[in-house]
């Protein structure tokens, strides 16, 4: 069966990732246009009901490799390579996420297949798929076609909308996968550890996010005060979370949360793609950064080029005064 195969990632409780659900929805739509089918692959301990439920997003079949552990890429490369070869898939699609990058890249090497990453849209053209991919900090967009089969498409985070169909159930097919010797040489010790306090940023209408430009952990106080004046919450970039300045639960972007508040105020954030994908749907984006060449000035609604240490305290006071008035 020629068609489109999607990897569906799940957490330790068996909940499927939103980006995977989006990728299945996208694959089902494209398969419809190509006159073929979309299927999903899951690994590890996934129940019959769990696997069948992916039919709701448009997967006609779900391949389940129970002996393959979830969470590390290489065993999943083995599983996908086998299913792609056995079932003759034309395309492989991944929703945005770190693991998709790694699995897609491994498949590229294994199958000698073309790959595109950070894909924001997929088009049907001349009976095949064409990936649309922004490059050079989103300053240009390229359309990329695949030579030979399969074509590997790695989506950008949140690129594909989840579409639930009328409760159809997928056929579940168990597959036995022989793992490559090197695929068993990496072992998960702990998965998905939360670090730092639990903070809620997803429900806030106003977010003040801090990045490396804050200079040090203590300067998150500037964000806290401004957020409090606005009646919102504080969030952070991956860089400062990894540096231990802010809890992981408050991280925006590729490996963090996706938010869309009424106001997103970015303080000392350059606006790398990995951050942008988690906040670009915000209604209003304000950026304060001392580097006039920071990419965030390309996509903010209001940009202030200047020293946040000078601007933020005064802005906080002014907003307080305005609200008190």
């Amino acid at each position: 069966m020629a068609g489109i195969l999607v990897y569906a990632l799940h957490d330790d409780e068996g909940n499927f990732n939103k980006n995977s659900q989006g990728a299945i929805s996208e694959a089902a739509k494209l398969a419809g246009e190509l006159g073929t089918e979309a299927a999903a692959l899951v690994v590890g301990d996934v129940s019959d009901e769990g696997a069948q439920s992916l039919g709701a997003y448009g997967a006609s079949k779900v391949y389940r490799a129970k002996n393959v552990p979830e969470g590390l890429a290489q065993p999943i490369v083995d599983a996908m390579a086998k299913v792609i070869a056995d079932e003759d898939f034309d395309y492989v699609l991944f929703g945005g996420g770190l693991l998709g990058f790694e699995i897609g890249a491994g498949l590229t090497a294994r199958l000698g297949a073309g790959v595109t990453m950070e894909v924001t849209d997929v088009k049907v053209q001349d009976g095949g798929l064409v990936s649309v991919r922004p490059i050079l900090q989103d300053s240009q967009i390229v359309d990329v076609q695949y030579v030979g089969k399969p074509g590997i498409i790695i989506g950008r985070l949140n690129a594909f909308d989840t579409v639930e169909r009328n409760g159809s159930s997928a056929e579940v097919i168990d597959v036995d996968v022989e793992l490559s010797p090197w695929s068993t040489k990496a072992k998960m010790v702990t998965r998905g550890e939360q670090r730092g306090a639990d903070v809620n940023i997803e429900d806030a209408d106003f977010l003040v996010a801090g990045g490396r430009g804050l200079g040090k952990a203590e300067n998150f106080e500037l964000c806290e005060q401004l957020a409090s004046a606005l009646g919102g919450a504080v969030a952070a970039t991956r860089a400062v979370v990894d540096a231990g300045w802010f809890p992981y639960a408050g991280q925006i972007g590729q490996t963090g949360k996706t938010v869309a508040p009424k106001l997103y105020l970015a303080a000392g954030i350059s606006g790398a793609i990995q951050h942008k994908v988690g906040m670009q749907a915000s209604e209003n984006i304000v950026a304060i950064n001392k580097d006039p060449n920071a990419p965030i000035f390309e996509f903010c609604d209001l940009g202030v080029v200047g020293d946040l240490h000078k601007i933020m305290p005064k802005l906080t006071e002014a907003i307080k005064a305005k609200k008190g008035a």
């Binding site: 790959v115 702990t190 209001l302 202030v304």
Partner: protein, 264 residues
């Protein structure tokens, strides 16, 4: 232990990058530099070398693929601590996509048989994030990307990274391919002496033939993707930019802007 660090020459961040519409490839003219993400990989190699008993890490080798000019990236890598470097350069490689480049780099690495291959998390120009995993599969080694903490002991690596659901801790047997995140360390600055001495360190220049690279698998012809079109992004109304000169005035303008949108 032998550590190979894959490095890449990229256009300087200050130079405007663009695609050449005639070839659909990145225009690689302009000031060149070592990919800033790669300096973290070199630093990680140096910290492993310096952290283990002397002689445990025999050498750190910087490896690149690129045009002639990419020696500059190697000189920079050596000035940051690499012992020697290898340059794969051949006109036949021009226009290689991820699939072709990964194969070619793996062929060079096979000649070196390293115990550990390190890379930066991404290239500053291509935004690919994928090369580590491509190379690892060709070398049949375990791999992990975006690693922000790495300890070596007893032929094993203990790595930490952020993935979809939080922090993962992963144990990996050597030999392995690891791409490091930029949070792993603060790269050192090269000393003047190291910069001056960099050109004297051994640099091996390889052609595709030297590395036993099959010509049919590289270059534009060997690539598995084809760029069909190059377009500008959808026009978006450019935001208002305020240069902060008088902060009181700046703040007033920001508050007015927020009020206009009923945000305060």
């Amino acid at each position: 232990l032998k550590i190979c660090v894959l490095v890449k020459e990229v256009p300087d961040a200050a130079v405007e990058k663009r695609m050449d519409p005639s070839t659909m490839r990145l225009d690689r003219n302009g000031e060149k530099n070592l990919n800033p993400f790669d300096t973290h990989a070199i630093e990680a190699a140096m910290q492993i070398k310096e952290g283990l008993p002397e002689g445990t890490v025999q050498e750190v080798v910087a490896v690149t693929m690129g045009p002639e000019s990419s020696v500059r990236a190697l000189h920079k890598a050596v000035s940051l601590g690499a012992d020697r470097s290898v340059q794969l350069t051949d006109d036949a490689l021009a226009g290689s996509d991820v699939c072709a480049s990964g194969y070619a780099l793996a062929q060079v690495l096979k000649r070196e048989s390293p115990d550990l291959v390190l890379l930066g998390q991404q290239s500053d120009d291509g935004e690919c994030y994928t090369m580590g995993a491509v190379v690892a599969d060709h070398l049949q080694m375990p791999s992990l990307t975006q690693v922000i903490q790495m300890d070596v002991s007893d032929g094993k690596l203990r790595c930490e990274r952020q993935a979809e659901y939080g922090y993962d801790t992963v144990e990996i047997e050597l030999p392995a391919v690891i791409s490091v995140g930029d949070a792993i360390n603060e790269p050192r600055y090269p000393s003047l002496k190291a910069i001056m001495g960099a050109k004297k360190k051994q640099l091996d220049k390889l052609s595709a033939g030297d590395a036993e690279i099959e010509a049919s698998r590289v270059g534009e012809g060997g690539s598995r993707t084809k760029v069909l079109a190059l377009n500008p992004p959808p026009a978006k109304e450019k935001g208002t930019i305020i240069e902060d000169e008088d902060t009181n005035d700046t703040v007033e303008r920001v508050v007015a802007w927020l009020e206009e949108r009923k945000l305060i």
